[in-house]
């Protein structure tokens, strides 16, 4: 009898605990806690420095009345959260793709696509590498295509003029938009790449790897190189019209081909109806020209920001890219696409 009593007591205790835990969030909502002004942003690590700068300045301007959080999940990871309605804005270093568009559609999430800056991908080698100053897209394709896996392991296999030195490859992780874009631009198919390279989301790891290995080669965002120009050797890329090194100028005028690309933010249309989100996005586009340059990215022409502002004001949803990545898009092409919308 006593034993049963004890068990009932335990049961009541457990039930009460479970009830309390499951109802806590509901409690939070009823007390009005959830209505606080929080803007949630997640996504690409490439776009992160820009969004972080805007978030910092915005919170300062609003004197802390609006809270902004920025996470780094990669472009793909960011869109996953975005399509579940967990974030208000998604940072993306490539346009949204078909699969992600479908996921948003299914969840009833409409989005406004806004280009915020230009970025170049820099191909880097070890400073002791004295045989390479430029490479053609064909060379890079030979190195990175899936068929090269386990086969192309020495420099002289790519070009007989180069020495017999082991080729060690470094690149960003497969969840990043940078990886998606590089494979699309070089190999011709998004995400098609050999698998035997050192992948890291942390650019410092890539730099360490390339810097300590005479036969190292890797790629990452131009902004990172701009912060550390003396650690590694930059390779000029020959996209068919002679070798060009990435720089503020060559990325902007489109001669650095095909490794420059626009980067974006995607705003949830429903969130954009909240005054604090609306204000944040307007603040973003207005201050982008200065802030983008400050964090070593390449700003779009003023006209592009104007177009983006207009599009946001009119709440035009959808993407201008039709769910496919476009390669080597010049700023002019982008403007034309934007104007059509």
């Amino acid at each position: 009898m006593k034993r049963i009593g004890r068990n009932i007591g335990l049961l009541v205790f457990v039930a009460a605990g479970a009830l309390l835990i499951t109802n806590l969030p509901g409690l939070g909502v009823t007390l009005g806690w959830a209505q606080e002004k929080i803007i949630k942003i997640d996504g690409s690590s490439t776009v992160y420095p820009i969004t972080e700068a805007v978030a910092e300045e915005f919170q300062k301007a609003k004197k802390g009345t609006v809270k902004v959080t920025v996470g780094i999940s990669g472009t793909g990871g960011g869109f996953k959260k975005f399509s579940r309605g967990e974030t208000d804005i998604s940072d993306a270093s490539r346009p949204i793709v078909k699969k992600e568009m479908d996921a948003c559609k299914q969840a009833g999430i409409e989005y406004i696509e806004l280009p915020v800056a230009y970025d170049g991908l820099a191909v880097m080698v070890n400073p002791k590498n004295n045989w390479v100053t430029s490479m053609t897209v064909g060379d890079l394709k030979k190195i990175w295509e899936p068929a090269a896996e386990g086969k192309i392991t020495r420099w002289n296999q790519v070009n007989p003029a180069w020495p017999d030195v082991p080729l060690k490859l470094y690149g960003p992780g497969v969840d990043s938009g940078t990886f998606d874009y590089f494979t699309e631009a070089i190999v011709g198919k998004s995400r098609a790449s050999r698998g035997d390279f050192t992948a890291s989301e942390d650019d410092n790891v890539l730099v360490q790897g390339i810097a300590s290995d005479r036969g190292g080669l890797g790629f990452f965002g131009y902004a990172y190189y701009a912060e550390n120009p003396d650690k590694l050797k930059l390779v000029a890329i020959d996209g068919g019209k002679g070798p060009v090194s990435p720089s503020m100028k060559t990325v902007m005028d489109g001669t650095y081909f095909p490794l420059s690309r626009p980067i974006f933010i995607y705003v949830n249309k429903k969130s954009a109806e909240r005054p604090e989100v609306k204000e944040f996005v307007e603040f973003y586009l207005k201050h982008a020209p200065t802030l983008v340059k400050q964090v070593k990215y390449i700003p779009l022409p003023d006209r592009a920001y104007k177009l983006a502002e207009e599009r946001f004001a009119r709440k035009v949803t959808g993407t201008v890219f039709g769910g496919e990545a476009k390669i080597g898009m010049k700023i002019e092409d982008l403007l034309k696409l934007e104007e059509k919308k």
Binding site: L24, P25, G28, A34, I38, Y48, V70, D202, N204, E227
Partner: protein, 308 residues
């Protein structure tokens, strides 16, 4: 003659044993030194890099894109609050479970299975706890990507450690104490409350601190449940100036913690941010030391009260 040979033999053996004794002394010292030197080098390195960055404003500023302006205010507040939730979740549960298993539970196959599981749980990689917590707390219970979720996740992680240390220190209490208590007519609960718990408190506290010290440095499960990289605000205050003056709203606020802030800084291109990471490392080390010091002090206090 024979006895002389015998003495020689004994002398030889003694010197042989002495040599071995000495040998082990050297091996032992060497092993100790390796651990010590590695730790010491790490700490020195951390201090050399990070010490110049330590200042009051480093502790009271939010993260920033300018390394010299950046601080760890949101990170250390986040870590402290998450630790409070972790301790509040894991310690009562862990102690209660430990007492039940040791004092109340019958020694049958069920407790045996629980026991084996408990020991295994302590060795599970933390990312697994992160995934479990993502499914349970974030998606199923809808607690959101909040301090509460982070704290409960780390609470799960250290629960086995608290249970195991509770059981070990209860086991160390001589049975005569229990028998004496029963002989005076005390019930089981009275025995536990007035004797078992106070006597084992030192060991329990040690287990708790070891657990919390592990939890404070965890990054993987916290990232999985959605701690964020850039958080430049504090959670809402637990005190309000309207009735009832206490608010638990902070439990549901987004947060960041020290290891994530460090990770973010380390992965940045600018060297100045790496120094910031080292400085944050020093603070994290200090936080762990303060926790340990507190545990040693409490243990000392509890030991003093034991009179047998």
């Amino acid at each position: 003659m024979a006895s002389d040979k015998n003495t020689q033999e004994i002398r030889r053996r003694i010197s042989h044993n002495k040599f071995r004794d000495h040998l082990f002394w050297v091996i032992g010292l060497f092993s100790t030194l390796i651990g010590f030197v590695v730790l010491f080098t790490l700490i020195i390195d951390l201090f050399v890099d990070g010490f110049p960055r330590l200042s009051w404003s480093f502790l009271t500023s939010y993260p920033s894109r300018f390394p010299e302006k950046a601080g760890i205010l949101s990170a250390w507040v986040g870590t402290t609050l998450v630790m409070i939730v972790t301790a509040a979740a894991a310690v009562p549960l862990g102690i209660a479970a430990g007492i039940y298993l040791e004092e109340y539970g019958k020694k049958n196959w069920l407790t045996h299975v629980i026991e084996i599981n408990m020991n295994n749980l302590a060795g599970i990689p933390s990312i697994i706890y992160g995934l479990l917590a993502l499914g349970l707390f974030v998606y199923f219970l809808k607690l959101g990507e909040s301090i509460l979720t982070g704290g409960l996740t780390l609470g799960l992680l250290i629960l086995p450690m608290v249970v195991i240390s509770t059981r070990e220190s209860i086991k160390a209490i001589p049975n005569s104490i229990r028998e004496a208590s029963y002989a005076l007519g005390a019930t089981k609960w009275q025995t536990v409350k007035d004797h078992i718990l106070p006597y084992s408190m030192g060991g329990i506290l040690t287990g708790m601190i070891i657990g919390l010290s592990r939890a404070i440095g965890e990054t993987a499960p916290i990232i999985t449940v959605g701690a964020l990289t850039f958080v430049a605000f504090l959670p809402s205050s637990p005190m309000t100036n309207t009735f009832p003056f206490l608010s638990f709203k902070w439990l549901f606020d987004p947060f960041t913690v020290m290891p994530i802030q460090m990770f973010n800084w380390v992965s940045r291109p600018q060297k100045e941010f790496h120094l910031n990471a080292a400085a944050a490392g020093i603070i994290l080390l200090l936080m762990t030391l303060v926790m340990n010091a507190l545990a040693i002090y409490l243990r000392y206090k509890f030991r003093k009260r034991i009179k047998w």
